[in-house]
């Protein structure tokens, strides 16, 4: 009995310490304590567009869920989802090499002091061992850092820089006003909310958020963002948790940023039936079918394609950019 109590106490202490240390990476980056090779704290001066542009040119920045531990999308369901999206939208460029839970875009298994530990966790994750979830917990704390108004202001500047660098890598024509869609899955929804207005300001282009089962707070960025599409299913308990734990999402908090955005009709909620957050029956499930033919994954891809091409049946018209 004493042994169990001791183990549980150690586990609780480790969890609290992990949470307490969570803001250190982004705050240290902002304060200049750590070198920042792929993202900097300075204002970007980006090269203007040089080549001809097609009018239906679009960029989608994929911000992965908290299960991710690498910069490239490595979770099989997410990879299949993006592949389907690329097939459905061949004219769209998808930025899929961003690790949004590090302000320097340094993946957990990348060049870090504790990368050996994280590689061990990654192997555990691939083998579906319980300790493989440590990476999820670590990333969940980063979502909390972004949602904390004290830290978010610095964290969001970091993610803004890595999104801009990601767009640059994928050939985004800066200065062209080409629309950008920040597609945040699960915890990536919060990252998208945090950096969207800053990205829009830097690009001087329309930036819209697609929150795929996003877990996010009432973020100041929601006041400025052009439009938010929030996709969720009725059996998604994780997404629902976000609506509960962040008071600014409660309908009674009329003056919250989220409710202001909703009041101004800049939020479109898209119901996906009885979809769950992950696993069988989820948004990315390629096996379960909606009508015996099309899978849940197909439906999700179709909804997102409709948003990006602005042809979705139930979508409101997007205002002209001034």
């Amino acid at each position: 009995m004493n042994f169990i109590v001791a183990v549980l106490s150690l586990f609780a202490i480790a969890l609290v310490m992990m949470a307490v240390l969570a803001p250190l990476e982004s705050l240290g980056w902002w304060a200049g304590w750590f070198p920042s090779p792929s993202a900097d704290r300075h204002g970007l001066s980006l090269d203007p567009v040089t080549g001809p542009l097609s009018s239906d040119s679009r960029f989608v920045v994929f911000l992965t869920g908290i299960g991710s531990m690498k910069a490239e999308v490595h979770i099989p369901e997410e990879r299949v989802f993006l592949d389907h999206l690329i097939v459905r939208l061949p004219q769209i460029e998808i930025v899929d090499d961003i690790y949004p839970y590090s302000v320097t875009n340094t993946a957990l298994t990348g060049n870090r002091i504790f990368s050996a530990f994280w590689r061990l966790v990654f192997r555990g994750k691939e083998a579906r061992r319980p300790w493989g979830l440590i990476g999820n917990v670590r990333n969940m704390f980063q979502v909390m850092v972004s949602s904390d108004h004290r830290y978010g202001v610095m964290y969001d500047r970091g993610t803004t820089e890595i999104v801009l660098h990601g767009l640059a890598r994928h050939g985004y024509p800066f200065g062209s006003g080409t629309p950008v869609y920040l597609l945040g899955y699960s915890g990536g929804g919060q990252i998208a909310m945090g950096c969207a207005s800053l990205v829009a300001e830097k690009l001087n282009a329309p930036v819209r958020i697609i929150s795929l089962a996003g877990v996010f707070c009432s973020d100041p960025g929601q006041v400025d963002v052009e439009h938010i599409y929030h996709i969720h299913g009725s059996r998604d308990k994780v997404e629902r948790l976000g609506r509960i734990i962040f008071p600014g999402r409660w309908p009674i908090m009329k003056n919250s940023f989220w409710n202001q955005a909703r009041e101004e009709d800049r939020v479109t909620i898209i119901h996906m039936g009885d979809m769950t957050h992950n696993g069988p029956g989820s948004y990315l499930d390629a096996d379960t079918t909606v009508d015996g033919v099309h899978s849940y994954l197909d439906k999700t891809v179709e909804e997102i394609a409709g948003i990006v091409t602005e042809t979705g049946a139930s979508l409101p018209p997007i205002p002209e950019q001034a």
């Binding site: 090779p37 300075h42 970007l44 980006l46 875009n105 004290r150 660098h165």
Partner: protein, 237 residues
Amino acid sequence: MIASLVAASRVQVWDIIAAFFTGSADPIELLSSAANWRSLVIWLVVLAGLSEAIGQSVVLFANQVKPMRFVLSLLISALLNAVNFLIWVTLFWLFSTRILAAAVPSKMLFIVIGVSYIPLLLGFLGFLPYAGQPILQILYVWSYGLMAVYIGRLDGVEFNQAVSLAVIGLVSVLFIRALTGRLLNSIAHWAMDVTSGRKLMLDVNEAVTQITLAMTNNKPDAPQSTENGQSDEGKSS
């Protein structure tokens, strides 16, 4: 437990902290029987101040304070907390004895107010993302509440005086702070500015915005994007 500790004559600060959090002994009793009660109380207050400073250190990060100066600022903040405590105890004692005419022994007042700082040893939890600020508020309420309860238990304080002290306690804190606050704040800010090496902006948003503006104006170079976006040099935990 108490007997063994007192027999050793010098109680360690960890004994007091452990007694408080585990409930194994009364920390006030332990302190009042210890030979080194003065230094123990000061240690408690300094450590609580240090922990609280860590919990609120986001301001230092936002102002881009360098690591050495960061540590110095935390230490100065902890010492200022002790100075605050001494002024507070003195004024509280004068208020109790002169205005409320309570026979409050200064040693006990020193000890009980010192012990009421112990919850603030958890002030570092203020650094927790999202939950940090509410936790800090709870710790302050816990600390003030303890003080009121402990003062009520003091010998020489009658029930009505204890109630008055408990109720007026918070008001008096505000009163004392209003009297001394401006001067103390000026000294504290000056000390923090000196140790941090820059004029600190206490509003995190303002600090980040101002620094970003200054950087944007001073650094026109475009970033060089890498092929894969992965860090080659960056080290972070």
